[in-house]
């Protein structure tokens, strides 16, 4: 679903934020300071939440939170005139800081030594997806079938699939390496997944449930 999100009249707190942050607002500096404080607290919370799955720790993590808060503050100030009250102001502003943290952690991925060393490893597939312990032989056979399907992908689809799935590179980090964005990579992965599934269905490895549902009804 695309389309417009519903506009609402601003609640009192949101209206106060917007009034304080407008370019011509009196005492705007204090408003900006409060906004930065709000987003810094949010950024620190968010980097801590994600910290368990990243190699960024300690002071580096706090620096990252500060940079995310700085950039999110600038983004909010640049777009405050576009805020239409579809949500509370703070929810809207938090979104900027969450996306900044996500983006900056993607950058950090390439500074980790293991990032440069990781190679395509087909043995990762069962680990990444989760292997039923009583079906190891079947999983090996399916992994070989997936590998054959991946060979039929376009070069770009294969590069993205191998990096994201078999080398464990986060999409945000891969987007930086390939000079593209997360959305474009997701679409590439979307098409790759669909092609691989079509290949596996055509070769009898997976059930084509849509066709089976149709034949059940007949």
């Amino acid at each position: 679903m695309g389309g417009a999100t519903p506009e609402r009249s601003l609640d009192a707190e949101s209206a106060e934020w917007v009034d304080r942050l407008k370019v011509a607002a009196p005492h705007r500096e204090a408003g900006v300071r409060d906004l930065h404080g709000l987003l810094l607290r949010a950024a620190r919370r968010e980097v801590r939440r994600r910290g368990a799955v990243t190699a960024v720790t300690g002071r580096e993590l706090d620096d990252l939170a500060m940079q995310a808060a700085d950039d999110a503050t600038c983004a909010v100030l640049a777009k405050v005139d576009q805020f239409r009250g579809e949500s509370r102001f703070t929810t809207w502003a938090y979104r900027f800081v969450v996306l900044e943290v996500s983006h900056k952690l993607g950058r950090h991925f390439w500074r980790q030594p293991r990032a440069a060393l990781s190679e395509v490893d087909w043995n990762r597939l069962p680990d990444v997806l989760g292997t039923p312990p009583d079906q190891l032989v079947e999983v090996e056979e399916l992994t070989r079938a997936v590998r054959r399907a991946v060979e039929d992908l376009t070069d770009h689809q294969r590069t993205v699939f191998e990096a994201a799935v078999l080398r464990g590179v986060p999409l945000e980090a891969l987007a930086l390496q390939l000079d593209t964005n997360r959305n474009a990579l997701y679409k590439t992965m979307f098409d790759a997944r669909r092609k691989i599934r079509t290949h596996l269905v055509a070769n009898g490895y997976l059930a084509d449930e849509v066709r089976e549902e149709v034949s059940d009804r007949e």
């Binding site: 679903m1 695309g2 999100t5 519903p6 404080g37 709000l38 607290r41 949010a42 620190r44 919370r45 968010e46 939440r49 994600r50 579809e86 949500s87 509370r88 703070t90 929810t91 809207w92 938090y94 979104r95 969450v98 996306l99 943290v101 996500s102 997806l129 989760g130 292997t131 039923p132 079906q135 079947e138 999983v139 056979e141 399916l142 997936v146 986060p170 999409l171 945000e172 964005n181 997360r182 959305n183 997701y186 679409k187 979307f190 997944r193 669909r194 691989i196 599934r197 596996l200 009898g204 490895y205 997976l206 059930a207």
Partner: protein, 88 residues
């Protein structure tokens, strides 16, 4: 016919999936519906589908939901408020 449900789920694609850009564009609206216990899945079916399939966007959703449902406290203001209350 093989049975590896995790692989099947991973490869399955939903035509309604809106992709990362659209999901992130409306994430604040979607999160507030979820946080308020309202129905987000019906008006934003394609976003729901995307957040299930896209790990990074799903993580962003979790992060924003956590901030909205349990906002980080303003320690300085809280302590100041406590002091002011104490003087009254």
């Amino acid at each position: 016919m093989s049975d590896w449900p995790a692989l099947d789920a991973f490869l399955r694609t939903d035509p309604a999936d809106v992709g990362c850009d659209e999901a992130m564009r409306v994430l604040h609206v979607y999160v507030e519906l979820v946080a308020n216990g309202e129905d987000a899945a019906t008006p934003y079916q394609g976003v729901t589908s995307h957040l299930r399939a896209c790990g990074p966007c799903g993580d962003d959703f979790e992060g924003l939901l956590a901030l909205v449902t349990d906002p980080p406290a303003d320690g300085v203001r809280k302590s100041l408020r406590r002091k002011l209350r104490g003087r009254r």
